[in-house]
Symmetry: C2
Subunit: 198 residues, 2 copies
Amino acid sequence: MDQLNRRKERQGDRALLDQILDEAKVATVTTVVDGLPWSVPMLFARHGDEILLHGSTGAGALRHIAAGAPVALSAFIADGLVVADTLFDHSMNYRSAVVRGVVEKSSLDPAQALTALSDSILPGRSAEVPPHTSKQLAATLVLSLPITDGQWITKARKGGPGDDDAAGWTGEVPMRVVYGEPVTHTAGDVPESVRRLG
Amino acid sequence: MDQLNRRKERQGDRALLDQILDEAKVATVTTVVDGLPWSVPMLFARHGDEILLHGSTGAGALRHIAAGAPVALSAFIADGLVVADTLFDHSMNYRSAVVRGVVEKSSLDPAQALTALSDSILPGRSAEVPPHTSKQLAATLVLSLPITDGQWITKARKGGPGDDDAAGWTGEVPMRVVYGEPVTHTAGDVPESVRRLG
């Protein structure tokens, strides 16, 4: 099985970094707590050269990160299975990024940052709902991880297996995320932002 | 925007842990290198109470892990978008797991471990191709992270937004990964394992 960490095609490509960060809605945020690795999945959004993370003012490990603990943010998008004629050469096509740094104050105010985060989950939704209340903003901690030269890496694999002398069928099977039929919780017109997902 | 790290429904549910580890093909593996967080996406497979990771005998950070550095393995499955009537309450339905520990020798021999890893990527594929060669096995480092009581956590969110007094439509939009039409690299009969994915 070909492993994911061997091929570093297009390493250092900022356009690829932005593409990955804009497509992935969730990243694994990692830090060190008491000398041990600590990680949590978090919703995030890229805004220019910063990565916005949404925390709670009540969450301990996020306060640790907010206080300056080094962070590694890891985003991964699976693009397909790579099917070879030996098990060893099976692999996955993917795009991934790791961004390292220390969080700082965002260039956005909390309302702008929350709006950017919401629109990352569901594009266009911010135009359909009322603005944030002061109570909501007070309960929110927006962390901003800067994208700094030399502090990020992208990796990607695409295409079929390398072996051109395969004994039988080899190829790729594309993978993608699709949205299903919306499930109504409170009735009303399904918003345009949701209809666009289909 | 409701954040992912607030709700810990069903925390401690081993059946949920196994479900997440069996469904996710890739996890983010984290360790501490020179005091800093370090993470990489890796293909993995669960075999009973161990998590098999496939490394290369030439990869430095994996040797660090193999030498006993503490690891946190994080797996995440996105199940849907949660659409509320305020931006603040938008969220994602998901299942996630973090398993902590130190890797050890697998109970499987390298050939069995590689087979389990390959079948995790593409179920049933191992029955369709020749066995591993000794050269392939020599180039492979199989790491095994034990699933130990008290060293793992699951989190999950499901259902619609909490607010029952919503002013307009609210609900959920299911998300799932689908496989596309196989792309042929070398011609032949598309194997049964690939046809089953569709």
